[in-house]
């Protein structure tokens, strides 16, 4: 059987669903093993170093694969299956000529709120077309009414806070991520975020999965990954609403999440692995995957009607987000290689220093800028949307 070594669908319920609903349909037995990033990578590297191993198929995020040496992944170009999105297919080449991984499933970050919060929406605000200022005002209203800050932000150790800055805040205020990192607009963006933070549950630094705080009522308005909100919608479909991320001066920034499957060069049974890849991309499989993980298909499928509440809510929100007039879609960071972590850390550090430690914004940005520039120079990664394209390494202006 094939060992499917994955960083996705880790929660026990999702893993269970992957095994029982998604992979049981594959002819061969599949051993689906989700792992934390640490063991995942360590085991993989060990097999690669040892030159032999038992992992047949890798499941991971774009970032997981981009950190790897391209030679270690089998070229999947000849497989004949790809995603429906050229952007994704391009990303999956990881800057090489060959397909390093096959896009597997996608998701995004959206907002969700408890219906209790709706009555405090600022006058004239459309929940499907909020601006950051309206979000702040809304949160402030809730704060005032309940006496407690009820905005929830996944700033915990496992939270995906950096994606908010990279894909949402910066594009919405500066129309860029790298180039505009330390721009004056960026200062404004951080000031706004500080304002929002006033109304953010201070325990957010412990929050990793906002669905828990939504359900418990510790947060009424939250931002998070679609799959990390799923439980709230599935458990209490009538209590919550999902809606697009807010817009700023330069539009409604948002960002996809892309997961892929790849085959390590040490895979014991290459054919079985490839067959499994093909199986994973089948429309039926993709729909089952959606049910199991709340990640959306990357191939064209007709979504059935009986999808879980979370999928329906999230799907609608994402559709509104990308379909909005001021949509300013960003891309996943590309070309960073194994510096993806360092790249994230620049933003996380900026957050911790500016917001938590309340250091001067300008000073912090100027300081962090140096590190960002160093990362870009070292990797030579060109700019990606919404930054204006660059020749060579994306410059920090």
């Amino acid at each position: 059987d094939v060992l499917f070594w994955s960083t996705q669908a880790k929660p026990v319920e999702e893993a269970q669903a992957m095994r029982e609903q998604v992979l049981s349909g594959f002819g061969d037995a599949v051993d689906y093993q989700p792992n934390d990033g640490g063991p995942w990578l360590t085991r993989l590297n060990a097999e690669l170093q040892a030159g032999s191993g038992s992992i047949g198929l890798l499941g991971g995020l774009h970032g997981d694969f981009s950190a790897m040496n391209p030679d270690d992944l089998v070229d999947l170009g000849d497989l004949g299956v790809t995603s429906a999105s050229d952007t994704f297919n391009n990303l999956a080449k990881l800057g090489t000529d060959s397909l390093q991984y096959i896009p597997w499933m996608q998701a995004s970050y959206i907002m969700a709120a408890s219906k209790k919060a709706l009555e405090y929406l600022p006058d004239g605000a459309d929940i499907d077309a909020l601006s950051y200022d309206q979000l702040i005002e809304w949160s402030a209203n809730v704060h005032e009414a309940t006496g407690e800050p009820k905005f929830g932000f996944p700033a915990g150790p496992k939270g995906l806070k950096h994606r908010f800055f990279q894909g949402y805040l910066y594009p919405s205020y500066t129309n860029g991520v790298v180039r505009t990192f330390a721009s004056d607009e960026a200062v404004v963006a951080w000031e706004k975020f500080r304002e929002l933070w006033e109304h953010t549950n201070p325990a957010s630094t412990n929050f990793s999965f906002m669905q828990e705080q939504l359900i418990s009522g510790e947060a009424w308005i939250v931002f998070d990954h679609t799959s990390r909100l799923a439980q709230a919608f599935n458990d209490m479909p009538d209590d919550f609403v999902a809606f697009p991320a807010p817009a700023g001066p330069t539009g409604r920034g948002f960002m996809p999440v892309l997961a892929g499957v790849a085959i390590p060069r040490t895979a014991p049974d290459m054919d079985a692995a490839k067959a499994l890849v093909a199986y994973m991309l089948k429309p039926e499989t993709q729909i089952e995957t959606l049910r199991a993980t709340n990640f959306f298909p990357v191939v064209d499928v007709d979504l059935p009607d009986d999808l879980p509440a979370s999928v329906q809510a999230a799907g609608a929100a994402v559709a509104k987000m990308s379909g909005s007039a001021d949509a300013n879609p960003g891309l996943l960071p590309a070309g960073l290689g194994d510096k993806g972590g360092d790249f994230n850390r620049v933003f996380v550090d900026a957050f911790e220093r500016i917001v938590l430690a309340r250091q001067d914004i300008r000073a912090v940005l100027d300081d962090q800028k140096g590190q960002l520039a160093a990362i870009m120079e070292e990797t030579g990664a060109p700019c990606w949307a919404p930054d204006a394209p660059s020749d060579g390494a994306c410059p920090v202006e």
């Binding site: 934390d36 990033g37 412990n206 938590l356």
Partner: protein, 281 residues
């Protein structure tokens, strides 16, 4: 067997074991800390030490160890003496006290988060008792003191049993006759504890303290659960270098720094608690 080579024969299995399963990988990893491929360099150390979170995490780690270990020691000693003089039900009591041993640090973090979070048990009880009119947010960046306290409490709860078990085993081996003699010669229970238990327990104390201090510098999971990102500690930073930043050299350098601190403290403990030659049973 010859008394000169016998000790070496006895430590041989452990040595082989540790050489193969610890020292060999350790050397490989430690090498990475000193330079990247070619030549010797302290660049990795410079990098990790100059990172702005390093002083904070160092301070946090030391502070936590300083707060937690002495309390645990005192508590473990108290509990050990208590079970030792207990007649009825002592294995039940000891069992209860050692329960946290069986709980991994991840699970312990979980348990204590369930207590301290805003919708947690502590708030339930406090609002039930009318101390607060609505649940307070205890684990927030606004209350660093409470966060520290929560982490310390969880850690004390979780890891006191480690010392307790070692001390209980040691305390039981102290011959009763010495307590009797001390008692006859006018030593109060407290004095007996100070003058008999403590000195005669030195070897066990040494072991318990050393192991505990080393573990205290490796604290991570409980802190991550309760302190979130508010309370960076050295080991968390190490893992961040290794698994988030994929910077093995820096991670190894961090680990070596932790190692150095642990060993330094260990040597101090061994020095303070050494048994003078001849003063053994």
């Amino acid at each position: 067997m010859n008394a000169r080579i016998l000790p070496y024969v006895l430590i041989l299995p452990v040595t082989i074991f540790l050489c193969v399963f610890f020292l060999y990988p350790f050397v490989l990893v430690a090498q990475q800390a000193f330079g990247t491929g070619s030549g010797f360099s302290l660049e990795n150390f410079r990098e990790v030490v100059s990172y702005w979170k390093f002083p904070i995490s160092l301070k946090n780690t030391l502070l936590l160890a300083a707060a937690v270990v002495p309390i645990q020691l005192a508590l473990a000693l108290l509990m050990a003496t208590m079970v030792n003089r207990m007649q009825k039900g002592r294995d039940l009591v000891l069992y209860i006290w050692t329960i946290p041993l069986g709980i991994s640090d991840l699970a312990a973090g979980l348990i204590w988060l369930a207590i301290f979070e805003q919708s947690g048990f502590l708030n339930t009880m406090m609002s039930g008792l009318g101390i607060v009119d609505r649940p307070v947010n205890l684990l927030s960046y606004q209350h660093p003191g409470v966060v520290f306290l929560a982490i310390a409490l969880a850690e004390i709860w979780r890891a006191t049993a480690i010392m307790l078990v070692i001390l209980v085993a040691g305390i039981g081996l102290i011959p009763k006759e010495y307590y009797e003699a001390a008692e006859v010669f006018g030593a109060s229970p407290w004095k007996r504890f100070l003058r008999i238990t403590l000195p005669m327990l030195r070897p066990s104390l040494q072991t318990a303290l050393v192991l505990r201090v080393i573990l205290a510098f490796e604290i991570f999971a409980v802190v991550a659960a309760l302190g979130g990102t508010l309370f960076p500690v050295l080991m968390g930073e190490t893992y961040a270098y290794q698994f988030d930043l994929l910077n093995n050299g820096a991670a190894a350098a961090m680990a070596l720094i932790i190692l150095a601190i642990s060993i330094a403290f260990t040597l101090v403990i061994l020095r303070i608690l050494r048994v003078p030659k001849g003063a053994t049973i």
